[in-house]
Symmetry: C2
Subunit: 375 residues, 2 copies
């Protein structure tokens, strides 16, 4: 009987696991939040991932549990583990992706380079940090943020007063130094429960309005030192935190050649979508292999350059309308991936991958194909 | 709403359409012969493809109909077309893939190079053909043969007497000259209803016991002339026969540098499995684009060489047993595709694709990975 992999969450990351699961012969089962989600083809249940009973009912028919997102509460995860369910990544690792304060403290313990940071319980503590850092800082809610939400650049503690007002007694916000970075990078690694690790090449990511817009793989002008340092950080975190499955480490590269950890994600990640078409083993296949504790695949690029451009928002007439056909007609080498999601301004509804020998060409084709979907 | 593509037949070819359908955002629906077929994830109905009512019920919820095999009877296909259903390839084209005598006569009319052949109604007619061709010939049942079934090399008409005995009144067998070929090739093209055609590079196929064992893409030592002639044959047949979707033309290359058409298939074909990982647009994606009348994708190879090795039979403990993990562990660059079919000696249960710059390396890795599944 085929190994049954259960995915909690029915978004596009779960959807993009379907293709490699079919080819590998894994029986993918998804607990979706709702009917008609992105991963509906593999949805075998609909339920609330915060409800232990709903999750318990779902996992009793799977061999291993993994995730489309990092929002399943610790108490639910720990109850599953206590009941003998194989959960990858497990709660001990996932807590570092769920709470940025816990993550910062742990990375400090591991000696991983990161921005200056502090846990601040009130405006006075925040102002003290700002005063020590040129009067500026990035305030983050430790939990629940994504795609720029829960992140605010401030120049005075009063700018975060509303968040302090909503903060439960005894809890803190995270403040980080505003890093003068020259660009953003991402390092992905996969790690199996048995310990095997495979690293992808470090990539450059371009954010717009706090959302990933483009990725270039490998990162242009990334010398051997940069690649080695980034890979070392990825490996250290995967091992130090006991991550199983795909790990994405978002990085800042500074003008003084330092690399600092920005964020972590313990699942396939937007910065790795290029690998579906641009690497021997795409990140969705690799995540499945890792969580199923199967031998990991070759993470080498298939081409000199791969470029990923997100499709945000999109036409109201649906992804397979005239714009889709026009993009395909003009750019036959573009790999257009759709998420089956209703378009909304700024919502990720798909992406385009292009690989080739010439970076400028690949960037042009990927952007031009994606531009067909702009309103 | 997503375009709905209905596939009649639930085998591995339908299964391998699932991955590109998900990424393209097509709603794939499969009419499977039985429960638990290879393409079961996309199966929305189970029924007999020879039963017009069963097929009619299936197609009323799809926008276009295509196939996993060529066995749907002409009367069923023509009834659908008469009712306004979009069927690709249509019955006018598909008849040439369903009946080898009809195919031979039509290719003769198109002036496509093929072996000498004749329709023979009895042993006397067959013996006359053999006498004209060094006493040898290949006798074929015009319909229903595949993977070497319905094909027999004979040196005397008596060796086909049992087939003549079973032949309905007025029907004939096909006899072809036994071609002294140096190797077998396959040319694939995709054609849209609107006329656009895209050609894949000609590949070399290696058969064992009448079944495809290995494919090398592109065909080694294929000069410009060979590639041009093969592509021309593919285009002529696709246009001349009005094929929509993928067309595979199996070819003999003779020692006097002729290329002769052996067989046709109007669907994704074993000779094109390499393209899943080795071409910018794999044949399953291309078939979906073609039958949906979407612009065709780039059929260029992604690597200098791609090699496909079939997995036949296989271990009784199931595809994801220890052998699968061992093959993955030893060959991290091998792309192993499984069909979710119970292993039986000689049955195609999966295949391995390997791409790279060095042909010998790619052949070695693909064979070595596939060898893990031999009993």
């Amino acid at each position: 009987m085929a190994l049954r992999v259960g995915v909690i969450g029915g978004g596009q990351l779960a959807r993009m696991m379907i293709a490699p699961a079919v080819e590998l012969g894994l029986d993918l089962r998804v607990l979706a939040e709702d009917e008609g989600m992105s991963a509906q083809l593999a949805a075998t249940a609909v339920g609330d991932y915060r409800d232990l009973e709903a999750v318990r009912a779902f996992v009793k028919d799977v061999d291993v549990v993994t995730f489309d997102h990092e929002h399943v509460p610790q108490d639910v995860l720990r109850a599953l583990v206590d009941e003998g369910v194989a959960v990858h990544p497990g709660p001990d690792a996932l807590q570092f992706a769920q709470d940025k304060l816990v993550m910062r403290a742990r990375l400090a313990g591991l000696g991983v380079p990161q921005p200056d940071w502090a846990a601040v319980h009130d405006a006075a503590e925040l102002q003290a940090f700002l005063d020590d850092h040129d009067g500026r800082g990035v305030v983050k809610t430790p939990r629940g943020g994504y795609d720029g939400k829960g992140v605010r650049v401030v120049r005075a503690a009063t700018e975060a007063q509303d968040w302090f007002d909503q903060l439960p007694e005894g809890e803190a916000l995270l403040v980080e130094e505003l890093v003068a970075f020259v660009r953003e990078l991402a390092q992905q690694v996969a790690r199996r429960p048995s310990g095997e690790i495979v690293a992808y090449p470090v990539v450059e990511t371009v954010q717009r309005d706090g959302v990933c817009a483009e990725v270039i793989a490998p990162a242009p002008a990334a010398g051997e030192r940069l690649a080695r340092v980034a890979e070392g950080i990825g490996r250290s975190i995967a091992e130090g935190l006991g991550v199983t499955g795909m790990l994405a480490v978002e990085l800042f590269e500074t003008d003084d050649e330092r690399i600092l950890v920005n964020e972590l994600a313990m699942r396939p990640h937007n910065s790795g979508h290029w690998s579906q078409d641009g690497a021997v083993t795409g990140q969705f296949e690799q995540h499945l292999r890792a969580v199923a504790d199967l031998p990991l695949g070759d993470a080498s690029p298939r081409a000199a350059w791969s470029v990923m451009v997100n499709i945000l928002g999109g036409p109201t007439e649906g992804a397979l309308g005239d714009r889709f056909a026009a993009a395909m007609a003009e750019h036959p080498s573009a790999k257009i991936h759709t998420y089956g999601k209703a378009p909304r301004p700024g919502r990720k509804v798909g992406h385009v991958n292009v690989s080739g020998d010439d970076l400028d060409d690949a960037v042009y084709v990927a952007r031009a194909a994606a531009a067909h979907f702009l309103d």
